[in-house]
């Protein structure tokens, strides 16, 4: 690890003030909470902050499910959210996405706030032996375009970066209209998750709308019939403890045997958690007939672009969507 000072502030206000100050050589301070992704990146010299500001013990970790929906303090662990009975009952896609993530140990350590901010698993980003990575070293190029890119994104890519967003939870949350609560040094704000992450464009090193010093303090999800009939499908190279090649989160409100309204998002394929409004529109009023579902899911491929090794994802994500809808739709 690059040398850093570790600050353990007394309260969140002190942490925000400290986090807003640039470090030496204007390098930004970094926050650490659960630390499961941060320590990997520190160990590999991918992140080299001079100052690390700990959020341990400063953030809310409560999980509340009420008439209005779900509220997770940012420090709630992945394991505690997954094991919450009301989350599993009323927001099944959230619990399923968490139980399909990482390992039991990591789920005990990692927070839901940090989960949204985890960095990509692009092997070129995570290996400083490769000089070219616009996300790690802006302006250096992209080794994945023209390299081994079986794991990379097909939606939201740019000529500067094709790294996929790695979170399973964020895919379920974006499908369920989650909102991220953020506190800065002066103001607090609520950001819809769909607007929280940024497309890579020409600045792939800037991944979210967070300003220096801002901290994710909570995530909320509205309640409703759609959330209750939700499902997460994850497809990967091994059965457990692996990141998604492709995943799909769907949520349905049924009207008899027809879909009244649908929410659909995909993971492993987008440079950010990827909502599919055109697929949702096509599903409204549709039956669960496989041909109808396939026709709607085909709209997911609009604008998708393969890069050689990852083209299979364009077809696979459509099948994942169909599978997820069939499972959610047939639930009692």
């Amino acid at each position: 690890m690059h040398p850093f000072t570790l600050e353990r502030p007394r309260d969140l206000a002190a942490a925000r003030a400290s986090g807003a100050q640039a470090g030496r050589n204007d390098a930004p301070a970094e926050y650490i909470a659960g630390g499961t992704d941060m320590i990997q990146l520190l160990q590999e010299y991918v992140r080299r902050p001079d100052r690390l500001v700990s959020l341990a013990g400063l953030l809310d970790d409560r999980i509340d499910v009420g008439p209005h929906g779900l509220r997770m303090g940012a420090a709630a662990t992945m394991a505690d959210v997954a094991a919450h009975p009301a989350v599993a009952e009323r927001f099944p896609a959230i619990a399923e996405s968490l139980l399909a993530s990482a390992s039991p140990q990591v789920r005990n350590q990692a927070t839901v706030g940090g989960n949204l901010l985890q960095r990509t698993r692009c092997p070129y980003f995570r290996d400083v032996g490769y000089a070219a990575c616009n996300k790690r070293a802006p302006g250096s190029g992209c080794a994945a375009i023209g390299g081994e890119n079986r794991w990379h994104a097909v939606l939201g890519t740019s000529e500067h970066c094709i790294a996929a967003h790695a979170s399973d939870l964020a895919v379920a949350l974006v499908a369920l209209d989650a909102v991220v609560e953020v506190q800065g040094t002066r103001v607090s704000r609520r950001v819809p998750l769909v607007d929280f992450h940024r497309l890579p464009g020409s600045t792939p090193h800037i991944e979210s709308v967070l300003e220096p010093g801002e901290v994710v303090t909570a995530i909320t999800v509205p309640a409703g019939p759609v959330a209750q009939r939700s499902h997460y499908v994850k497809l990967r190279d091994r059965a457990s403890f692996e990141f998604a090649l492709v995943s799909a989160a769907v949520a349905l409100e049924m009207n008899g045997d027809r879909i009244r309204q649908a929410r659909v998002a995909v993971g492993g394929v987008g440079t950010k958690p990827w909502r599919l409004p055109r697929v949702e529109t096509a599903l409204a009023g549709a039956s669960l007939d496989p041909a109808a579902l396939r026709t709607a899911a085909a709209l997911a491929a609009d604008g998708a672009k393969g890069y050689g090794h990852n083209e299979f994802k364009i077809e696979l994500m459509q099948r994942a969507i169909v599978r997820a809808i069939e499972t959610a739709g047939s639930r009692a």
């Binding site: 850093f4 140990q105 350590q109 400083v128 490769y130 403890f241």
Partner: protein, 213 residues
């Protein structure tokens, strides 16, 4: 890296695994063998010579005993346990959260100690493999691992046992399929999985019987 028939590295570097481990331990895990890394990597990981790190006073509670340590802030919980408290039962495998050899309990929950900074583990009750037995009386899962011959080289074993203890206390040790899913964070390169699963199921059954008896 390719090897020629002599088993030596083609460029003349001839490090045994033990020598390499010693070298990397002495440098805090940082490889300093230039031939093993491309130039770009060395430039990228070169530390700023002006950097100064204030050591931190850290209190750790491990296996019921309190310890006061003065640590570089970069010290992981794993390295604090092994290198400072000399509790070497907890093993260092990948150092990146992938293998599970470093699994310990924190406030009764299983965690990967390589993914935790020691300074941020203050106030938490840490349990390592050394804290599992009561005197000469092995923990039931330790006994089950012996009974089921659930290891070959033994390097992953302490992590497997710590994760298995948690797997049982969480109530995730029913069917073999359930055990495999909930033990997926612990790799065994010898492939002793069948015996590990059997040992965890044995211990889970005996703890259920003890509770109900």
């Amino acid at each position: 890296m390719d090897r020629d028939d002599s088993g030596r590295e083609p460029d003349g570097v001839d490090l045994t695994r033990r020598e390499l481990l010693k070298a990397t331990a002495a440098t805090g895990g940082l490889l300093l063998v230039g031939d093993l890394l491309p130039d770009g990597a060395l430039a990228a990981i070169a530390s700023d010579p002006d950097a100064t790190i204030a050591p931190l006073d850290v209190r750790l509670r491990v296996n019921g005993a309190d310890h006061r340590l003065t640590l570089d802030p970069r010290t992981t919980l794993l390295d604090a346990l092994r290198e400072h408290l000399h509790l070497t039962g907890t093993k260092k495998g990948c150092g990146l959260g992938q293998c599970g050899a470093c699994t310990v309990l924190m406030d009764g929950k299983r965690v990967k100690s390589c993914l935790s900074l020691a300074a941020l583990a203050e106030g938490r009750a840490i349990t390592t493999i050394e804290g599992l037995a009561e005197g000469e009386q092995l923990h039931p899962l330790q006994a089950a691992f012996i009974e089921r011959d659930a290891f070959q080289c033994g390097y992953c074993t302490s992590g497997q046992i710590m994760a298995g203890v948690a797997c049982i206390s969480e109530g995730h040790a029913g069917s073999a399929e359930e055990v495999r899913e909930w033990m997926s964070g612990n790799l065994c390169r010898c492939g002793a999985y069948d015996h590990i699963v059997a040992a965890i199921q044995d211990a889970a059954r005996s703890s259920t019987a003890a509770r109900e008896g």
